[in-house]
Symmetry: C2
Subunit: 319 residues, 2 copies
């Protein structure tokens, strides 16, 4: 594989905390609403300015997220916080638009098998739904951003290999259908830095700045390496879960998303501003561990602490 | 930071298993010699062709490695296996030469404070000792390679910051003193992919192909990201410990080196031949976990398994 010349590393990066959605949906226990609000308020106080707060799916399918409307309403009271919500279809999108979410995230599985199993729709049916969501958004005069997360973009536990050409075709299709942004998601931890580079290099010429999110699960320990490979291509926005929660409800102990605190540490160590206060972030992780007692949390910074060279680092910028 | 253009990713990489030395020396329990021999034989059967088998230090300082001569003697019976041994000084080097080790590794702390605390010598006193070791090697007609591992190259828990210019000065000095090879070691998990790139880019023009080893501890979860950053610069040889053992005897549960099995997975996933059989490697990890019962092992592949796209991968080359 020949590597093209990467740009300079970005000077800033955004971490979207997706724990209250992607993390909690994979955990059988239901976190009470009061604790979700405390999580979001304290994440905001650590400096977090993007949070995925829940999902507008039928509560019977995902009781953990049944209070999404209430959580979103609270998130909107925090000045400058961009609140994302996942919506699987037009019906969910209508709720997100009515609730004035800052961003609605529509997942689209690049794996046909996963798409059928997860959403009971083919990828192209989801593309059509995205077109309807865009039309509904525009008709309502809403300012809710429409982001599409291309899940299983690096492979699928059901289907196995997912062709990069198919991911490219779907990205073109969702942009044509009116998505404001797209992200590439390694839902099941199949990506490695080389495939991250290859896929982002394939998609960037088509999507340009509209491709601005990397979502990497740390299932096989490559989450942060994958983030670095994407950073080298100028990607500056990443999903993460505090304590690396998420994983899979059928695989006890399996890692979920990259851990917010470890990602924030890597970025800060490389001189990138993220605005996070590490002391508060690690305190919040401790609180989450207590709330989710019995669940396996992940990550390393909570144990190792900041290196001596960064101990006066408070706001995500090394001294 | 402006990134220079990286080369193509290498097609092959070498993992040196350093668990029997770097891993075990950080664990209070003493692994019996018979189990060390079984570890080395089975690591060889997984496809491992470089192993650091022990350390020629006084047994009273490191009882875990008191059987190094016996372990090295066994390792030398395995055809094609390159057996490394750590030597802290000329006395240790004389033992390595007499025992016909394939390679002797001399650690040199770039941190003056760490060097004095660890070896009771300044870095320049170690450089002088390396000159004496080279002279002794040449005088004996031995073919034992002399490698210097520049430890705390990315920072130090005692001293804090370590200046890249000082690392560069020491690399030049040890090459002048007759080292055949040098490696850069992040002994305490302070490196990140950006500093890995910066330091290797600084050293490569001086050391060229003689700089051929990266030794990254995974203390803060960046071990594999750091390996990837070094791979992009053409570095193709990395130290690792099965199960990520090592860490620090004073920090229970802390990660040690990057886990051999996770590193082998990342390399194989990126299409790089490492010659490792994953089934055997994970079976050996299970055995090590039993031998070291009560110790925390690390890594992710043992739990997650190979992805579906790589399940027929036996020899480190994806199908």
């Amino acid at each position: 594989m020949t590597l093209s010349s990467p740009r300079a590393l970005p000077r800033q990066a955004v971490i979207r905390e997706v724990g209250p959605r992607d993390g909690l949906q994979s955990i059988a226990a239901v976190l009470p609403t009061a604790e979700k609000l405390e999580w979001i308020r304290e994440a905001y106080e650590t400096g977090q300015r993007e949070i995925e707060v829940g999902s507008f799916v039928p509560p019977r399918l995902m009781p953990q997220l049944a209070d999404t409307a209430q959580v979103l309403e609270f998130a909107k009271t925090l000045p400058g916080l961009k609140a994302s919500v996942l919506v699987p279809n037009l019906k969910g999108a209508e709720r997100a638009i009515a609730a004035e979410a800052d961003l609605m995230l529509v997942p689209l599985s690049a794996s046909h098998a996963h798409s059928l199993a997860n959403l009971r729709k083919s990828p192209d049916e989801v593309v059509a739904e995205i077109g309807r969501i865009r039309a509904a958004r525009d008709a309502s005069g809403s300012r809710t951003l429409l982001e599409v997360g291309i899940s299983t973009a690096f492979g699928c536990t059901i289907q196995g290999r997912v062709e990069p050409a198919e991911v490219l075709r779907l990205v073109k299709a969702v942009l044509d259908a009116g998505a404001d942004r797209v992200g590439l998601a390694d839902t099941v931890g199949y990506a490695d830095p080389a495939t991250v580079r290859q896929l982002f290099e394939l998609i960037l010429p088509v999507a340009g700045d509209k491709l601005n999110c990397g979502h990497f699960h740390d299932t096989r320990g490559l989450g942060l390496a994958n983030v670095y490979a994407a950073l080298e291509l100028g990607i500056t926005r990443f999903d993460a879960c505090l304590g690396g929660i998420g994983g899979c409800p059928h695989a006890p102990g399996a890692s979920g998303n990259v851990a917010t605190e470890d990602l924030a540490y890597m970025l800060a160590s490389m001189g990138m501003a993220t605005g996070q206060d590490f002391e508060k972030l690690l305190a919040l992780r401790g609180k989450l561990a207590r709330w989710l007692e019995g669940q396996t949390l992940h990550g390393t910074l909570w144990r190792a602490g900041l290196p001596r060279t960064m101990c006066d680092l408070k706001q995500g910028v090394p001294s």
